[in-house]
Structures are given as structure tokens and as C-alpha cells.
């Protein structure tokens, strides 16, 4: 009984991890930026939701009307910084780590280190649930899950079907070629980074709705969210969603069958195993023509790799 229930609630929480991971995954896969500052944006989104919901006494979900545009701008602005300074995939990891630390400390300075929670009187979903037979679907989890699935699936459709989406994917495949076809990578990049920022705002709102806020929270997220990114396949939107649900379920399953202390251990061991067996991510079809595999991208190799690769992909 508690196993099935734990799987359900875990998978629903996985929607949150997927929501946190999707922006990271897309900016890693398509913009070649490993943006640790994304966790800072999520944190800002969460505190923003807390602050607005508390001071205006409004439904926390409504706060995204404000936080989404703000974090869109912040995400785009950060990308401008990365882009203008010509960072490689790898140096972006370091620079954004610095930015993350700055954001955490600023949050600390503004909201103090004390625990922050949205008042249950405002956050009326907090303890409500749907009951289906003997299974329980806690409302905050359900909202998280549904929003996560809808937004991520929507993002996938956008990337697959629209001109901007195709341009982005072309850009991810080969920057130079895309530029030759008149794709303005700078604007596209900022658009994508902005969209990532927007997902961070939503993930932050979902977090604030379900959990207590502390400024150090990003350090708790980094491990599990990167697990989702890597398992899902870098840049793979639907893969991220699937990996999020899987990791959430696995996390809870380990807690029920073994103990909660083992959850993180089980998840990390699973990642290492998965990477050993399927380095391209669990939910990626084996590399075929025209599909870049992430192991072939090496930060230091420069353009030489891609040209060798091109001969293969051209066939």
C-alpha cells in the first residue's frame, strides 16, 4: 500500500524536478551553457512568490504573472553576460557557479536565513488532497505534476513545430551553419535563456507552494536535478520529463523499501549505472545520423571535432 502511494507521490514530485531541470537541460543542450545560476533563478522565483503572496495575500499561483516576466528578463540578461564574454561550455559552469553564490547571499541578505513559508491561509492548497479509491493525490503535488507535464510538453511542441523551435534546433546542431542561414543566434539565445528563466519562475512558485524556504536550498537541488538532466539526455525536453518522474518515483521507492537516508544514494548509483550503460541518456534513441551525441562534444577540442563528425553525419 505505502509502496504504491509512495510511487504516486514521488512521481508527482518528479514533475517538480523535471520543471527545475528542463531549463538547465535546454540551455546546456542548445546554448552550450551549463547554467548553475538557474538554481539561483528558481530560488528567486520561490522567494518572489512567497513575498508577493504574503504581502498582497493572493493565491501563490497568481504570482507568476509578476515573477515569470521578471525572471524571463533576468535569464536573458544572464545569457547576454555569458554570450558577450564568449564562455565555453565548461567555463560557463564556473562563472554561473559564482553567480549562484551571489544570488544565494543576496536572498540571504534580503530575507534572512530564517525559514519562510507561505501562510496556509493564503496557500489554501497546502494540505488538501484528491482521493481516488485508497490512493491519495495531494493537491500541491497534483498541481506540480499537471503544470510540469503541460509546460514541458508544450515546450516540446514549440521546439518541434514552430519556426523558432526549428531554428533553435538547427542552431544547437551547428552554430555556424545556422548563422549562414541567417539565424540570429544572439536573439534566439536570449529568447531561449529567457524562457528558461520563466520555467525557473514557475518551478520556484511550485516549490514555495509545497515547501519551506531557506536561502541554501539550491545546494539540496543541484545533485538530484542534474541527475534528471543527465538521465533525460542533455537538451532532450521530453526525456527530462520522463527522467524527472522516474527519479521522483525511485527516490520515494528507496525511502519506503529501505530508508529515507538511502534515497539520494540510490538515485546517484542509478545515474552512474545508467551513464555507464547508456551514456547518451536513458530516453534518447541511440545516436543515428544527424544526431549529435553529447560525448562527442568536448570542451577543449574546439572545432576540429565537429568537422570530423560532419563527415560521418553527412553520409
Amino acid at each position: 500500500m505505502s509502496i504504491a502511494q509512495a510511487l504516486i507521490t514521488g512521481a508527482m514530485l518528479g514533475g517538480m524536478y523535471a520543471m527545475m531541470a528542463v531549463g538547465l537541460s535546454v540551455s546546456w543542450g542548445m546554448l552550450r551553457v551549463i547554467n548553475l545560476a538557474h538554481f539561483g533563478l528558481i530560488l528567486l522565483g520561490a522567494y518572489g512568490t512567497y513575498q508577493l503572496a504574503t504581502s498582497w495575500s493572493i493565491n501563490p499561483i497568481l504570482t507568476i504573472v509578476v515573477t515569470v516576466p521578471l525572471l524571463f528578463l533576468l535569464g536573458a540578461a544572464l545569457h547576454l553576460l555569458y554570450d558577450r564574454t564568449g564562455l565555453s561550455e565548461f567555463t560557463s559552469l564556473l562563472v554561473s557557479f559564482g553567480v549562484l553564490i551571489i544570488i544565494i547571499q543576496l536572498v540571504h541578505n534580503v530575507w534572512t536565513a530564517d525559514f519562510r513559508r507561505i501562510d496556509p491561509a493564503i496557500n489554501t492548497y497546502g494540505t488538501k488532497s484528491w482521493f481516488v479509491g485508497s490512493f491519495v493525490f495531494p493537491l500541491p503535488r497534483l498541481i506540480t505534476f499537471v503544470l510540469g507535464v503541460v509546460i514541458i510538453a508544450g515546450a516540446w511542441v514549440l521546439l518541434q513545430r514552430t519556426f523558432i523551435g526549428r531554428a533553435l534546433r538547427a542552431f544547437a546542431e551547428d552554430r555556424d551553419m545556422a548563422a549562414a542561414y541567417g539565424i540570429d543566434h544572439r536573439r534566439l539565445g536570449m529568447l531561449l535563456a529567457g524562457a528558461s528563466g520563466a520555467t525557473a519562475a514557475i518551478a520556484g512558485m511550485l516549490w514555495a507552494m509545497s515547501f519551506t524556504l531557506v536561502p541554501d536550498a539550491p545546494f539540496e537541488w543541484i545533485g538530484i536535478v542534474f541527475a534528471v538532466v543527465i538521465l533525460g539526455g542533455i537538451g532532450q525536453v521530453l526525456g527530462t520529463l520522463a527522467a524527472g518522474l522516474l527519479v521522483g518515483a525511485l527516490y520515494n521507492l528507496a525511502a519506503v523499501l529501505w530508508e529515507a537516508t538511502a534515497s539520494l544514494l540510490v538515485v546517484f548509483v542509478a545515474i552512474v549505472l545508467a551513464l555507464l550503460l547508456r551514456p547518451e541518456g536513458l530516453f534518447v534513441r541511440r545516436a543515428g545520423p544527424g544526431r549529435r551525441r553529447f560525448w562527442s562534444r568536448r570542451p577543449r577540442a574546439g572545432q576540429s571535432d565537429s568537422s570530423a563528425e560532419r563527415e560521418v553525419t553527412a553520409q
Binding site: S2, A6, G10, L106, P120, P138, A255
Partner: protein, 435 residues
Amino acid sequence: MRVRARAYGSAVAALALILAACGGDDDDSAAEPEPGTTEEGEATEEPGGEPSGDPIVIGSTLSLTGAFAPTGVIHQIVGEQFVERLNENGGLLGRPVEWRLLDDESDTAQITPLYERLINQDQVDLVLGPYATPNIIPAVAVAERAGYVLPHHTAIHAPLLSYECQFPGWSMDPQPDEYTSRLLFDLLGGLPEPPTTIALVTNESGSTQPMTQGFEGGGGMAGIAEEYGLEVVAQLPYPPGNQEWSSIASQLRDTDPDVVINNGLGVDPVGIIEAMEQLDYRPGMFFSLFPAPGPLLGLGEAAEGTLSVSLFEPNDALLEQYGDEVRSITEDFSQRAEAAGLPYTAFETQATASWNTWEILTRGVEGAGTLENQDVCDYLVENGVETTFNGQLTFDPEVNNFWDSNVGIKQIQDGEWVMVWPEDRAAAEIVPPEN
């Protein structure tokens, strides 16, 4: 000190400006005075008239940033309040007191160098301990090497603190698991319908795990429960910083104990109660060991009836008993806490422990009539100290100076923490579970 600090400020600012052309995220609010770091010397700059001469400098560190910071700030406010009050009332030995407070960033590795700095570099006259056991133990080692008296806040690992001049400002007896278990089980056993089954939900941090499993030599709650004929139907450990409670909640629902005992920290109980609520499950009673008091009250009706341990709660009935001085101390604290932007402003356990700590140090000095640390230490061991909140404390080096605990039990009643046990210090009676 301040001149030097400013010199560094400008030098570092200059360097930062040159290097960090990207650090443009200027946040207005960051420029506001920040509760953690404001004017450490404020108390001394407005001496309250009477004290004269060179200030006596008391040094300590607190976790103003990092994981322990939510509690660190309470101790900071109490310290500032205490020093100000002391200086208004003639200071210490007729001299003004200055508090030199450093931030240990919740990093145990920084404790040793910071206390070495206070003692050997800044040559402070007296020191106070930091907050939380892992930080207190290295501070005690430094104090011992230098022969300083070290009163400290909220350490529970009594057996590990063998230095004879360390004095706890809060005590759960030399054997905290035994003390807490008996306190709680005695209370529960006296209920009209005594519980028969318990579940132990334990944070595996060093401060809470041994409460369940036993400190060195102790049986732990799990063992002592058997003595009381209580059946442990579930043992659920979880890692510090845990956020995902649904699996624990569903296991609790499945085993349905009469009492859920959460030997946890901070907001752990909030997450557990909320997850149980989501499953539409409420155990008979819920006990939490070291919760952050505010967030539990924030849960409203769902947390009603929750039990925890406490040194003191500012309940009206108790304040009547204690008198005006205590009332003014607690009200002053609440105002300061509010000004600092704290969400929960009541003067409770942590603040009381902090107040005790300051009193042990200053009254020890007054009693010994000197700043000689060894004399102060001898005086305290010999005479004990009279505290405002916890009465006369006596220190016995045989049990590492851990005084007879008068920690009691509090309960959330009508959205407020109320002392309910032991009877002589209760502000109200315990409200038993409904069913």
C-alpha cells in the same frame, strides 16, 4: 577595529570594482542595514552613564550565515539586548562591556581559528560559546588551551564536554535521551487514555539521532519506551535537510501509532505534519524535539496539540509568576526581533538559553569580583549562579557541569506555544487527543 575594517572595506571594494565588472546585480535591499552584521560595537558607543573606564571585551562567534543562521540570529539579538541592559545598569565591575561578535558561517572548521583570533589576537577579556553542539566542542577546546571560562548555548552532548570551566546555558541532564524520554513518557502516562504505541521518526543528525538510539551509555527513546510498556511500531530515520516526506507519512499512516515522536530539527515536523494532512491522516499525538517554533504555528489547525520541549515560554500565566523584569525582557526581545525582520518573535527556549549563558558569565565575574578566568571558574563551580529564568543553577564537574535540567514540555494550544509540564511550571494543562 572599525577604522581597520573600513580600510579593508575600501581596499576590497576597490579590488572588487576592478575585477568584478560583471557584479552589476546591485540590489537595493542589500544596502539596507542587515540584521546579521550591524554595528557590533553599538552597545559601547552609548554607554548608559554609570560604567566607566576601559570597556571589558567579551568575544564570541555565532552562525549569522549558513545552516544554523535561523537560530544564530536569535542569540545575536539576545546578546545585543543583554549587553545594552548590562551597560544601562552599571556595566560589569563598573566598566562598560563591549561584545565582539564574529560570524562562523555555520562552518565548524572556522570555530577554532576564530576563537584563537578572539583570544590570542584581539585578546578579549572573556569569551562566550557559539550555538549548536558541533560548534561548541571545538570552541571549548580553544578555551581550555587558553584557560578561559566558556559558558555556551544549547549543547546536549554532555559526555563530550569534559573541560571543567565550560558551563552550559541549557541542560537536558548529563543523559539527555533518558531525561527527555522520562519527561515525555511520564506526561503521556498520566493522560486519561495513555498511549500504547509510538513511532520514532528521526533526523540522522548528530544532535537528534542519539536521542532515539541513545547517547553513549544511554538506551535512547527506543529502549526506554519498552520500560514504559510502549510498543515502537515504526522507526523511520531520514537525512538532515530532507524535504520529501510523503513516503514517511504514508508509512506512518499504515502503522497508525498513538504518538508520532519526531526527533528532528527546524522545519522537519512541518513537512511531516503537512504530508500526513495530505494523506488525511492525524496520529493521536505528535511530539517534535527541536522544531523551529514559528513555522509550526504557521500550520494553523493542523499543528494544534503538537508537543515539544522548552526551557521557558512567555505565557501570561508564567509571566505573572516571574514578574515585571522578565516581562520587560521578553517584550523588549520581541520588539527587536520584529525590527530585525524575524517571522517569529517570541522569547522562548533558544532565547532563554542565551540569556542564561550571559548571566552565567557576567554573574560569575561579578561574584568573583575579577576578570581572572580561573577565579571566575572556581567561583561558578563553588557557588553556582542565580538565573532570571531557570533559578539557581549548580555546576558539578563530575557530570561536566550539566545542571539538573528543568526543561519541560510545551504544547500548541489555540495557535500558541504553552508550557504544560512539569506541573509546577505549567501555564495550562495538556490537551489530550480528541478521538
